[in-house]
Amino acid sequence: MMTAQDVGLTEEEAVYVRELVGREPSDLEWGLFGVLWSEHCSYKSSRTRLRWLPKEGAAVVAGPGGNAGVVRLDDAVEVAFKVESHNHPSFVEPVQGAATGVGGIIRDVVAMGARPIALMDSLRFGSRSTAIREGVVRGIGDYGNAIGVPTVGGEVFYGPGYAKNPLVNVLCVGLRRPGREIGAGGARPGEDVYLIGQATGRDGIHGASLLASRDFSQADQDLRPTVQVGDPYTGKLLMEATLAALATGRVSALQDLGAAGLASASSELAVRSGVGLALDLDHVPCREARMTAYEIMLSETQERMLLVLDAVHGEEALAAIRSWGLVPKKIGTTTADGQYVLTLQGKRVAVLEAQWLVDGCPLKPAPAPRVAPPPVGTGSPPEPVSPQALVAMLADPDLRSREPIYRRYDSMIQTRTVWGPEHEVAVLRLKESPGGLAISVAGPGRWAAVDAYSGGAGAVALAVARLAVQAVQPLGLTDGLNAGNPDQPETLTAFSQMILGIRDAALALGVPVTGGNVSFHNETDAVAIWPTPIIGAVGRHPRPDRPWADVVTQAGMRIVLINPPTRPELGGSVWERRAGRLTAYPRVGLDRLRRTVGWLRQALLNDALGIEAVRAVAEGGLWLTLVKLLGLGGPGGAGIAVTLADEMLAERLLNEVVGQFVLTVDENHWPEVMAELSALQIDSSVLGRTVAEDGLGLTVGSGSEAFTWHWARGELLAAWSAWEGA
């Protein structure tokens, strides 16, 4: 006999289940409640809080609730996008955990009827977890490269809490034509339910659903399910077969199989469509002999899709599926009686209402949002800045070149990638529309470590700022929220604060959140991660064939800093962490940022203003921004000479407050630019100019006190790219 505890339910939840069902549930039924009411599937700790996020926006076609959010790019193209985490599986088995994470988010996008065109991954590791990192990078490459979706960017950061709780959050972006809506909600009674893809094995039973819904410790080793193995080849066939089936117009409803496998997919489909469901489990193709109903329903075998086909013309869709070498299996029918009935060998093994499984779990109430007063954003006293320390900082794990990672990803397949992973924003040219697509992802974990609110707001601000340097207005955001054990009050409070920060920034910047993912229990042996918000943003690029430069190209331009710091705000910065401290990341001036990005978006398009290169200041502060502006990727077009005041040098050079932008502007047009900025009350200061002499020169102070440091390009490049990935 199965007990409520065996399947991860609390006493109260078990009592409530008995009340709903009106009898003692069978083992199988307990199992279904267990997985569907797990944190991972029910969002019981987060759903009430996610409601705080703004969902409305002019471009939103599908908000949260489906498999991915969808926004309208223009009359020809809609963009489906979402971030998904695969943290726990990547700790248990880095290669396969990360690979199946990529496969899973690709299926989510396909389940919206969109063709996946780009991936970005956001990774967090302990600084010494080399084996995990190398495994994760291999897994992402193995799957993305083989299925043929380019990885066009991402981010990697390190922190002690991630050593045994690596984070693997993957963002997938797909395209579909307007009018091609599909989802789990279109089934009508009397239609046929088909399962396609990989045969079901005993893979990952309780994996995402239960393991990811509790902390991980050595004691859980036995609970380790059979690890799911990614099969990008079958994934590719499944993706093509599904898209081909959709193109026939004969698919009524579609749902991918992810966490909690068939149990989750089928019950969700029934609820969304408002139909009953009768599944005959004998017809589910199994990889192993004698699988029980429990195993069949809870298996997390990858590369599977559930389709409901038009009762009359379904054959057309089936033919399309078969042409890709897959064998569709009819496993049941939709019914009018609202019941969710599972049959095995002629016996009804579960008779429930799908509603109970999907929406029945009691949610944890969320207290009314209350924002703690902002902490004083001073950070801490800086270390003295020296030229050696600045160069050494370029090799910091959080700042150094990511080339040893991203060169293992195919970033160019599908021939849309204009700007790939070597840039801080991805720019894609579309074959489907004259407009382009810009994608950014942001979420430095340090920023939310002490003050989750400012970290959440900072992540949104940075994702938006990174689009703004390409004159792109975000159409929607997706958020990956990663945290520790939600039963710990501090964790849940920080989680709430993180959401409030995201909400406030999204509202201030006028961007809706169209979907996302929550990953709790990133906690092993009582060590939890920093709350980690990861924000993805997409928008329409106005001229993808000619992105604005992010490096200097010629001498004689003015270098300008927009929104220079007015207070000492080193909190949460790499510089501070290198000095052995970590204080709160400052609250980003959202109103200031809104005005600045609004101005940037039109100023860049105005050729008469002569803005040449532009970069958003982020991790590593102004210092790293200037180094990257020099263009370490290739031979330089020019050198940089800037001057900073002597007092508060560290704060000026190394704070990481989002909202600062570095611009190079044609000398002759500077007065016009300045006039526009002051009309909008946007602060700016001239830092210096681009010069013929290669390298980076920094003059500190003025007059007779002034001194100049100069670094050759090669010296900076050597420090920044010393890491060879091992």
Partner: protein, 228 residues
């Protein structure tokens, strides 16, 4: 100049097929897509085996696709010298696995997939393509995990005896093609030819526009199609 009807073959798991068709169409080739399970080639002068991960590249890259029914047809057409064949990346691997081209493409020495821009140089123009002259260079991306060209000792001697390999990688630091490769290829070989069959690891179809980093793929494919 020959006619420009090009058959692009797709295998389950091919994923550069769309890019290849798109590239060829920009050069005004008449493209027809042929499935792996077709028994015959359509009437055409040229065949392209595109890149990707046919059959997941399981077992060995290209090994399973080499046995697809369409490869019987390609093999027959090659024997009759009825078509020109271009294998790009996975297509090159399939041609070697099939024995249509000599040698084998093995895991990169690094053990890792590599995606980056490389320069390649014509070491020996394929017979029948005077457009490709010795020393000509192209900047093209590579993206592969199994791109190390390997061959038995006598095989290498043979390749050189017959004039040398078609393409070799150019060392980005010395700007010479003296054995450098991003993957551990013997003699830095990036592509070879035999008769009217050409195989290469880099992806010309990804270098069709300066906005993607280079137009050398356009140049390359135009020459292969017999244009100037």
């Amino acid at each position: 100049m020959m006619g420009n009807k090009v058959a692009v073959v797709t295998f389950p798991g091919s994923n550069c097929d769309h890019d290849t068709v798109w590239a060829l169409e920009q050069l005004d080739a008449e493209v027809v897509v042929v499935r792996h399970d077709a028994r015959d080639l359509p009437a055409c002068e040229r065949v392209v085996l595109p890149g990707g991960f046919s059959y997941g590249d399981y077992l060995r890259a290209g090994a399973l696709a080499a046995h697809a029914p369409i490869m019987d047809a390609v093999g027959r057409a090659v024997e009759r010298e009825a078509v020109s064949v271009l294998g790009i990346c996975n297509g090159f691997q399939i041609l070697c696995e099939r024995g249509i081209l000599p040698g084998a493409l093995w895991s990169n020495t690094s053990g890792e997939f590599v995606c980056r821009w490389e320069w390649v140089e014509v070491a020996s123009p394929p017979a029948g393509w005077p457009e490709f002259s010795t020393g000509m260079r192209f900047r093209l991306p590579v993206a592969h995990g199994q791109g190390a060209f390997r061959v038995q000792e006598d095989g290498l001697a043979q390749i050189w005896a017959q004039g040398g390999p078609f393409l070799r990688y150019v060392d980005p630091t010395t700007s010479r093609s003296t054995g450098y490769s991003p993957n551990g290829s013997v003699d830095g070989i990036a592509g070879i030819s035999r008769g009217r069959v050409i195989g290469l690891m880099p992806h010309p179809e990804r270098a069709m526009h300066s906005v993607f980093g280079s137009v050398d793929g356009r140049r390359f494919l135009r020459m292969w199609l017999g244009g100037p």
